[in-house]
Symmetry: D2
Subunit: 269 residues, 4 copies
């Protein structure tokens, strides 16, 4: 076996230089580029416009923290158990970033990206997008699949993040086919499905990230990056006003024993 | 047991509102605040100045990515094994953020913070800080403890991140006692230790984060947040130019069996 | 909201007792039950026969360690970076237990379980199972789906774990419809697919675990439990004969910079 | 750089063989060796006696599951959020295995091992161990350090796991200096500290594992392996009788907003 070579365009260092993306880290990036811009560049290898950075920051803010979610609670409980390992608490919090609570962004972005890619040609106005959306919604309904990004358990009237993202996208020239299709789905789904559902913020973020040209396979990664910020805030609050111990005691003290025999009898019945 | 209440100043939502830190997320934060500013606010509950945000971004950039580190390789190998779980790959990468490769920032920040807190009064000029630094370096040497932030395995002459951070701190009014003590240690350690060591960038970040007023217990958390951005970039590159499989094969194909019996005999000898 | 109650049949304790599954832990379980038997009981709520425990141990051994896998390497690299956090290294190793390297057991067990459940009645002899297997293999081929458990990148002639598991299953009365269908697929697939593939060990474990009555959704969990043992062995070896640093250096020293501009030009072309 | 070689005594495979520890996996290990025995062998490279395996199993059972601990709850919440990633839920549960809730075993084993190693010669009877224990307890008290393994928040009279482990150790010839010192500490600490504390089970496990010759740096790893079994049981129960959603809702619905301004005012005062 020949010695392999490991290609990279990211961080490199010599005794006298530290570069990232081929740029001098200390001279050309630090003090000039925000972490949000950096992550955009590392993922796309392109320099985003200030408007694209603002758009991406808005997306990340929409995802950073939703209060006492299962992932935030898991991170706090892990911090309670292992306060010496902040990395374990943050990792535990990220590990809940799966299909159910953090997957909508990725699912919606991928769904829109696949649909847009397969279009023979993109519509040029809202009516055109409405036609496309009708076809898509009907097809998904026939296949009994749910459309990601539609509906929210709490914000049944309006998810305020959705119009905010759309406005910023227009302001910054970041409004593209994914947001256009997402909005069209918002307009036409009721006539197909028979009920009105909200366009949720997690889905809108997926659409906006896809319009920013970020790779559909990694949209969840942006949600996780945003969540890393939120989890750091959660851990800081756990230091300030802890709830981990109360959460644990509340479950532990209300535990009720269920005899295993009563559970397996049912199986046999 | 009375029903516990769970206090929080972070994310809350009702059917019609989503707030974070008591602010309307969609109206007051999205589009106006970067993720870096948000994490500062969530951790400190204070609104940072634009200069403080620039300083924090510079610190985060210094930590975001160092190329093929053990943590970046671990994340890529995990992505190779479980491509369906981006959260697992990012979590695996963060889990290497412990004492050896990512702990310098925290160790240095805490060391400086403890020292500064214990000073009866802070020096007012460089000569004063030099006196303090001499006392500290001598004490640590007597106790045979290493001073975090001194020395770097590669950048033996200069870690270019250190002067860059100090410059930005001066520009933005973020230069405080922690950076002052850190610089003084850089000036005086040679006369005590007998050899000249570089002030490394990870340590300088710890000093700068402490001067920003961030809690010493969570400095590693900021390194992890920065690393989350870097890991996302690493995973994007793994999609573009994979090295995980070659890394694995290179180890696996060069495995050499060592008979366990030859190892335990020695123990008995 | 009424105070919730949290039902459990597992661990409970009072000031004077510690119980698990309703049994006195110290008196009735410790010294009498192996960890393998315990995990079987905790998952199924039934007391397995000694033969079932032997069968489960054989399955777990088949999965415990495969040498320098990506997951083992990721665990060792994480241990190198954060030696203070053994839990982080083990967690990082488990996080590679996803679809590609550890998912075959679960996929195969679930595939067989679904097929067996949907049979109007189970065949009573090998010829009957062969008919069933032919139908299944033809259907999967038509649907262009791969059959989990067929084929192995290294053991192209025979995966020795497969006959070993089948023998133990016969010896212990643990041979059921899932192994029967798996063996039948092994006999008939060549006439449908036109080439002979090995029945791999990971798939055989999935079949055997399903025959043990373990829940199909958690078969991957048994692979992870077995892998926890293997990872502990890997970390012990990393203490004894470390390879983490060499792995890291081998990648880091063979890094080759690829100018990002050369990669994005192609995209635009 | 010469191509590195990666030494290992663990898993290896060729096209026709799979070995582990130099043994033929399918022929010599599967069906003959339990997972508990395997982990002992992988860590120590020695073949344990049946009595040592029974002792190790008893230790593992003592640690496997303690009901609704913070780590079990974190695993269940993670499973709720990301049911597609069992590995994430198990990893999240293990990540709480740090200093506070799972570290006693390691701390106690290491404390005893260090003490025993430093003895000029080992006592030969209980009176001798009592003298040693008095010296140790006095020293720790003078240094204001707590002695790991002493005291339990719930089992204030007796932790029933401790005598159970000691009995099995005597039965199996596994009683050595670490358990002897631990018992002596249990006898003499009251005369030094002025109050009677229980010898807790986690500490007894640490002593027993050290007497089994397992490496002190990895004792936490055995606790984690045992906990992997317990977590699998917890996840199986979460499928059967879920509590994750109720835990989350109980915290989320009892969230109380605390204005950040009221918290930072204090700081400034």
């Amino acid at each position: 076996m020949n010695e392999p070579r490991f290609p990279t365009s990211l961080g490199m260092s010599t005794t006298s230089t530290i570069t990232l993306l081929g740029e001098d880290l200390a001279r050309d990036l630090m003090g000039k580029v925000s972490l949000t811009e950096l992550v955009h560049r590392m993922v796309t290898l392109r320099v985003p416009s200030p408007g694209q950075v603002r758009m991406l920051d808005a997306c990340l803010l929409a995802l950073a923290d939703h209060g006492f979610t299962p992932t935030a609670i898991a991170a706090r409980l892990t911090y309670l158990s292992a306060p010496d390992s902040v990395q374990g608490a943050m990792a535990a919090g990220l590990l809940g970033g799966g299909s159910r609570f953090l997957g909508v962004t990725e699912d919606c972005g991928q769904f829109l990206a696949t649909t847009v890619t397969e279009l023979p040609e993109q519509p040029t106005d809202d009516l055109g997008w409405d036609d496309t959306a009708r076809t898509v919604v009907r097809r998904e309904r026939t296949e009994r699949r749910i459309i990601p990004g539609l509906g929210h358990p709490v914000h049944k009237e309006l998810d305020p993040r959705t119009p905010a993202l759309i406005n910023i996208a227009h302001e910054e020239g970041c409004y593209g086919p994914h947001l256009a299709l997402f909005e069209a789905i918002g307009r036409v789904h009721e006539e197909v499905l028979g009920r009105r559902l909200v366009l949720n913020g997690a889905g809108a973020v997926g659409a906006a990230l896809a319009d920013l040209g970020l790779p559909p396979q990694l949209l969840r990664g942006f949600a996780l990056f945003a969540r890393a910020a939120g989890l750091l805030g959660q851990l800081a609050e756990e230091l300030r006003m802890p709830v981990g111990m109360d959460t644990y005691l509340m479950v532990e003290r209300n535990a009720v024993f269920v005899d295993p025999a009563t559970l397996t009898e049912d199986d046999d019945g």
